[in-house]
């Protein structure tokens, strides 16, 4: 050690930085990214994350297919995306370097685990020459660090086997990067204690590795000054860093509390929705019942049963499961029972790209049932918004006695952001009343209960749950007579009921807020989005405006019914652009609904939009830049 090491250095201040951790799926990259994110959140940065992992549980070690990566964007100001391109790439093995390097712009920093660059690993991922020895890395700032051996060294005094010690090398990397970006050590040290407390040898090894990495940064003299990203100005309040699936699960718990109803979730595991089931299963003390069904049809069916029993009922899945649930959802439409179906979208068709994000189930959500079966569709637009979207979907379901589809996607599900915790007292009361009394009198003066006698304003039918004396009734999927709910094959009644079901859902338009807009005077271009693209679109629109483009931003929170006045709003623009992580589904709806010549910006490669791609696309539409083909990811 030299003297300099102990001299306190003033870090260089950056306004933002994007770091990408990449390694083998066995290397713990998700955990490393997660820890760095948490420490940054606690340090007050604004941030956004993008985990990417392979579909296999553990793809063969050292191969390209086995690479797992985690990108985090931290900033001293409000940001909306995990960053277009990283500033720093940490590559724990050759496969990580090979698969990730083209994301790093020239001049970016590469931190390598040099120990991993042996013959075997190089061959496994198809490097014929060690990339450190040819011009592969020319133009980058490269730090070749023997992380494995340094980790083993740092843990030499401990009572851990070499192989076990090697597994702590991700903490070495984390320590190093923590030093580089002046993250405090304590939160991570505490977390290691917390998480591995039961296995003291693991605590010791990880702690040693983490500290060694930190010390290495301070000591090695090659990293220059540490950098620092100051805290972002945040509204006063208490914050937590939240992932979408967790926010969604908490939103479901909250909805139950706000509705004063027990929560029921019927679900069948599927990536990337399973974590909602997992999270919710931990909150039984809220009276939450979770049921892992034998399949998705049973999951949806069990929710229908629970809804009939008076619970706030949910079912969660991803595309393949949502496709299976269609018939059962149709039953709920026909019986007009409240329930919320959550679709955490992923790459399709069929099994597709199960761990990648996509937003290609919109048309399925709108139309994936036989017959005329209209129902509301709600979409979340950020990890924390999943919380509110769950409450909103529940509110509509309960108030209008209808199944509601809530759309999120893999990016929201696993992405995270700092979230200013709402005051629980400010959350809406979404409680509804069960029917308790007969609502009709027959010719002979006898009290009767008509399960399809509707509320005049909402057109909702009464919700009478078993156990309520005097309101015994039978419902089903056959057409029902208006009012009595008895089976009816009467032609005119069928037309009438079809109209009523349509009108009920259409009427919800008057009861929803949004879209989320950011409008300026004289804008001639509108960028219309829905779902997880909000962050990318916001950044892109801001940049376009900075470049002088007259662009407005309109983000839909409800896809059915559409926001009132949206047609008028859209008719004001010369150009309406609709970025979607699909081949143009919302754009179809807008064109059909409003006859506006909306144009799609499509990307279907399993990754979210980067802001710069969207800027390009908007500029192109405005006649300012050459066309780029985003779909094939050529520019991504």
């Amino acid at each position: 050690m030299t003297d300099t090491a102990s001299r306190p250095v003033e870090p260089d201040v950056l306004d933002r930085v994007v770091i990408r951790f990449a390694g083998d799926s066995g290397d713990g990259m998700q955990l490393t990214g997660d820890r760095f994110t948490s420490a940054s959140a606690l340090a007050g940065n604004d941030l956004a994350t993008l985990p990417e992992f392979p579909a296999e549980i553990r793809a063969p070690q050292g191969t390209l297919a086995g690479v797992s990566a985690f990108q985090v964007h931290i900033s001293d100001h409000d940001i909306h995306t995990p960053g277009d391109a990283p500033d720093v790439l940490v590559a724990m093995n050759p496969a990580a370097l090979k698969s990730q390097l083209d994301r790093l712009p020239m001049g970016g920093t590469v931190i390598l685990n040099g120990d991993a660059f042996d013959e075997r690993n190089l061959t496994k991922c198809g490097y014929e020459v060690d990339p450190r020895s040819d011009d592969t890395l020319t133009g980058y700032r490269v730090h070749d660090v023997p992380m494995t051996s340094l980790t083993v060294g740092a843990t030499a005094d401990l009572d851990v086997k070499k192989r076990d010690a090697e597994r702590s090398k991700n903490f070495f990397a984390l320590g190093l990067v923590s030093w580089m970006f002046s993250r405090p050590l304590e939160p991570t040290l505490e977390w290691i204690e917390d998480k591995f407390g039961k296995r003291p040898e693991v605590v010791a090894a990880n702690t040693a590795a983490f500290k060694a990495g930190h010390a290495y940064g301070e000591t090695a003299e090659v990293f220059g000054n540490p950098k620092k990203v100051e805290a972002a100005p945040q509204e006063p309040g208490t914050y937590t860093n939240i992932m979408g699936n967790q926010a969604l699960a908490w939103g479901m718990v909250a909805a139950g509390q706000l509705a004063k109803l027990p929560v029921f979730l019927g679900s069948y595991p599927i990536t990337p929705a399973s974590d909602i089931l997992h999270e919710l299963s931990n909150h039984k003390n809220f009276g939450v019942r979770t049921f892992q069904a034998e399949d998705e049809i049973a999951a949806a069916g069990s929710a229908v049963g629970a809804a009939f029993g008076g619970h706030l009922a949910f079912t969660t899945s991803s595309g393949p499961g949502i496709a299976l649930k269609g018939e059962t959802i149709g039953l709920a439409v026909s019986m007009e029972l409240p329930m919320v179906i959550i679709d955490v979208q992923r790459g399709g068709p069929s099994t597709g790209l199960p761990t990648k994000t996509e937003a290609s189930d919109l048309m399925l959500a709108l139309h994936g049932r036989h017959g005329e079966a209209p129902m509301p569709v709600v979409a979340a637009h950020s990890p924390s918004d999943c919380f509110f979207a769950a409450i909103e979907a529940s509110r509509l379901a309960l108030k209008y006695r209808t199944p509601v589809l809530l759309m999120t996607d893999g990016y929201l599900a696993t992405g995270s952001e700092p979230w200013k915790l709402p005051d629980v007292a400010d959350l809406p009361d979404i409680s509804v009343e069960f029917a308790t009394e007969p609502n009709m009198t027959d010719e002979d003066g006898n009290a009767q209960f008509w399960p399809f006698l509707r509320d005049e304003t909402t057109l909702a039918r009464p919700w009478a749950v078993p156990g309520t004396p005097g309101l015994e009734h039978r419902i089903g999927g056959l057409e029902k007579a208006d009012g009595t709910g008895n089976v009816s094959y009467d032609p005119a009644n069928h037309g009438h009921m079809t109209d009523l079901r349509e009108a009920k859902v259409a009427g919800i338009a008057a009861d929803i807020s949004g879209p989320v807009t950011d409008l300026i005077d004289g804008a001639s271009i509108a960028v219309v989005g829905w779902g997880s693209t909000l962050g990318s679109i916001t950044s892109a629109v801001d940049r376009c405006r900075a470049q002088g483009l007259p662009v407005d931003r309109i983000h839909l929170t409800h896809l059915a019914p559409m926001h009132t006045g949206l047609g008028d709003l859209l008719s004001r623009y010369e150009t309406v652009l609709v970025p979607e992580l699909n081949k143009g589904q919302l754009v179809k709806v807008l064109r059909a609904e409003y006859l506006v010549d909306a144009k799609p910006i499509s990307k279907v490669i399993g990754l979210p939009f980067t802001a710069s791609e969207l800027v390009e696309a908007i500029r192109t539409a405005a006649g300012l830049a050459p066309t780029i083909d985003l779909t094939n990811g050529a520019s991504a």
Partner: protein
């Protein structure tokens, strides 16, 4: 729901009868089952509002409309799954599930075996007419081999399920069989099933006089019945025949028809519904018209085992006791938080 007459006495059949016109074909076996169910209820100490009938689709599945309880006529095959959700949410209710052989064993087979495996507190009635009635006569998974139907003009080629075997194979804790010609037997069997805490499956031989008339004639006709039908009685040696001259004995592990005179009463199998292992009930269930010429009815198995909906509830209660009642604000703050002033 225009009740012309209001009957408030639960010991009267009318109390359990809805105001809807019954719409099965004249002569259909379903009428008798409905009557037995309504009559049986006059004998129970339950309230109309605490009872729910959930069904799938099919002629049998029309059943809920005719009971004055709560009810749901859902979609084809899914009744056990829907009922499971209802029972889990509302363990206070009596939930019945009704469906035909197509509904429960063809499209709904998986939901059925999972409900049985989980031992969800459901009373499940399988109306087995060995045909698809509502869709006008295709063969079903319980139709005998060689069945000529609209969809099998050259005769069906796949062997039928034995519903008793399927249920026991799935781990059912209560399995019984009855038939539409014996109201008393139906009532007694329904009552036993209703009393069972856990999943109870009752197979009901039901005649579809339009598309599969006489399916059970060769075991149920008055003149053959006593030689063909075995009424299982718990704790009793299994005997049958007009003169009680025939019996069932376990021979090399298999239930076998014997002459009582040949083997003596002591050698007969004594029926024990409560054996912890389902093997012997399974052996008895293998007795069929095809295999041995005789068909047992009554309760094959009835064992006590942890019930699913209670266990769900227990976990909620335990979580509450351990973690305290849910506090939303605390939940939101349960991760790492930081405060900006």
């Amino acid at each position: 729901m225009t009740a012309t007459e209001v009957i408030l006495d639960p010991t009267k059949r009318g109390y359990w009868t809805s105001d809807q016109d019954v719409r099965w074909c004249p002569g259909c076996g379903d009428y008798g089952i409905l009557a037995a169910m309504q009559m049986m209820h006059t004998d129970l100490d339950v309230k109309r509002e605490d009872t729910v009938f959930v069904s799938g689709i099919g002629c049998a599945a029309r059943f809920p409309y005719y009971m004055s309880t709560y009810g749901m006529h859902s979609i084809h095959g899914r009744a056990p799954a829907i009922a499971t959700g209802l029972a889990v949410a509302r363990p206070d209710l009596h939930v019945w599930v009704v469906g035909g052989d197509g509904d429960m064993l063809s499209i709904g087979g998986n939901h059925l075996i999972h409900a049985l495996r989980r031992n969800v507190n459901l009373t499940i009635l399988l109306f087995n007419n060995r045909i698809y009635g509502l869709t006008k006569g295709q063969y079903s998974p319980t139709s005998e081999v060689g069945k000529v139907t609209k969809s099998t003009p050259h005769g069906s080629i796949d062997p039928p399920f034995n519903p008793i075997s399927v249920a026991l194979g799935a781990g059912a804790t209560f399995v019984a069989r009855t038939h539409d010609l014996d109201r008393k037997h139906m009532m007694a069997t329904f009552k036993r099933a209703h009393e069972h805490r856990g999943a109870a499956l009752v197979e009901i031989f039901q005649n579809c006089n339009v598309f599969n008339d006489g399916a059970y004639d060769n075991i149920l006709k008055r003149d053959v019945r006593s030689d063909k039908l075995i009424d299982l009685t718990h704790g009793e040696p299994i005997v049958f025949g007009a003169e009680g001259d025939k019996g069932i004995m376990l021979v090399d592990g298999e239930a076998t028809v014997v002459n009582v005179a040949d083997v003596g009463t002591d050698a007969l199998l004594v029926h024990d519904e409560t054996r912890p292992e389902p093997t012997v009930p399974f052996a008895i269930g293998r007795l069929t018209e095809e295999s041995s010429g005789v068909t047992p009815v009554g309760v094959f198995r009835s064992v006590q085992a942890p019930e699913y909906t209670s266990a769900v509830n227990d976990q909620l209660v335990a979580a509450n006791a351990e973690q305290g009642p849910g506090d939303l604000d605390a939940l939101l703050r349960s991760g790492a938080t930081w405060t900006v002033d």
